[in-house]
């Protein structure tokens, strides 16, 4: 009988049993043994594993100090040297899911196999699945705690012991941008005709490859009068002031920035840089107005063809962007714009 695997578990303060308004701000802590859902996790691990320590943090605290928290957790993991790292499950809680994803990624980087669990639509799932993390698919709420932890425990043991894993469907994790060849024993042409006949008859069938589909966004009604409208410029082109003061990354951005453009008639070459890693920025550096057309929009403003342009430019980098990160950023920017009375957005994309 092999030694029980040494498991470190991450949970947020809410699941750690702390309530009240301030729980999201709970400081990062490390405690011996299992806490909260970690106790059920330990039961489900039976004698295959033991929760030797629990790392707990408020979701707000984590999100505001992500890098500092990560550094501390790396330290804990280096000291504890667990066989496996388990985080969550986060269900549909966005900040918790992002934290779980990030910490699992850091654990993997330290050579520690990691498992987490969250609902398919958690922003953490979309952001971290392409990093090939193992994310067990869970229900939307803690009602699904037991089955989530059951699958997380089973997967954690397999990973901890280096046992071969089944497919995503078999083990219960979300597609993690890794595909594996299988022998179906049936020629593709036969499978194709079988599949389309099922589709034709209205029977259920399973596509061998599926890609995300996107929600339908109902189009806003047209502007009644552009001359009375406040416009804003939002871009994913990564056009930033020289020096990139807000450190936008070249790809997979998860934050955005805004830059004052009040009093500017145009964007001046030399004052701006294009940090988006997906397009050749030569033309943009020669004349940034080719990407963000401030000069032309100012002309329309002067001519009274549009009401006014809001005096900040909103920027992120769309290169290899995670869908859910972009959704979140779009919602954050839109919320700000609505508050300011902005009625229309022009979004240059590269």
């Amino acid at each position: 009988m092999a030694e029980p695997l040494r498991v470190v578990h991450y949970i947020n303060a809410f699941f750690g049993g702390l309530g009240g308004e301030e729980e999201a701000q709970t400081t990062l802590s490390l405690q011996d043994g299992a806490l909260g859902p970690g106790r059920l996790l330990e039961q489900l691990l039976t004698d295959e594993g033991q929760v030797i320590a629990t790392i707990m943090c408020g979701d707000g605290y984590f999100s505001e100090r992500e890098e500092a928290v990560v550094t501390q957790v790396q330290g804990y993991l280096r000291d504890l040297k667990p066989d496996i790292f388990v985080a969550g499950p986060a269900f549909r809680s966005g900040r918790y899911g992002l934290a779980c994803g990030r910490l699992c990624l850091e654990a993997e980087r330290l050579g520690i196999p990691a498992v987490t669990g969250m609902h398919e639509e958690n922003p953490g799932s979309d952001l971290y699945r392409p990093a090939h993390l193992y994310i067990i698919r869970t229900a939307a709420s803690a009602v699904g705690m037991q089955p989530a932890l059951q699958r997380m425990a089973a997967l954690a043991v397999k990973r901890g012991r280096g046992l071969p894993l089944g497919t995503a469907a078999e083990e219960g994790f979300l597609p993690r941008a890794v595909r594996r060849t299988v022998r179906t024993g049936i020629p593709a042409a036969v499978r194709a005709v079988d599949m389309v006949l099922k589709k034709w008859r209205g029977e259920t069938y399973r596509s061998e490859l599926s890609v995300e589909t996107f929600e339908i966004i109902p189009p806003p009604p047209p502007l009644s009068d552009p001359r009375k409208t406040l416009f804003a410029l939002v871009t994913e082109s990564g056009l930033v002031p020289r020096g990139n003061p807000d450190r936008l990354p070249a790809a997979t951005a998860t934050h955005w920035a805004k830059y004052a453009i009040a009093g500017m008639d145009r964007l001046v070459p030399g004052e701006w840089d294009g940090v988006h890693g997906g397009y050749d920025n030569t033309a943009a550096l020669q004349d940034p107005n080719r990407v963000v057309p401030l000069d032309a929009i100012r002309a329309l403003e002067r001519e009274g063809l549009i009401g006014r342009l809001w005096d900040e430019l909103f920027v992120t980098v769309g290169n290899l962007g995670s869908l859910n990160a972009m959704k979140r950023m779009g919602a954050e920017i839109a919320g700000l714009l609505v508050e300011r009375g902005v009625g229309a957005v022009i979004l240059p994309a590269t």
Partner: protein, 71 residues
């Protein structure tokens, strides 16, 4: 209103008003043109974006700079 070259991705994601102009390295530019013509192109493009914002649409719709509604 989204200004882009690769509009099939844009329509797929669900952007409703899309104006298509220059190459994706410079959606509002055309470095092959002399500066005055290029600015004229940009000005026309921006005007088209305003027009798109004033046009009712039912679903992702692509507007070209040169012509009217494409798809």
């Amino acid at each position: 209103m989204l200004a882009t070259c690769l509009y099939t991705v844009a329509t797929r994601v669900g952007a409703n008003r899309i104006v298509r102009g220059g190459k994706f390295h410079h959606p509002f530019g055309n470095p092959d043109l002399p500066p005055r013509e290029e600015y004229a192109f940009r000005y026309a493009f921006v005007q088209q974006t305003i027009r798109a914002l004033c046009t009712p649409v039912q679903q992702p719709t692509v507007f070209d700079v040169e012509t009217s509604v494409v798809a």
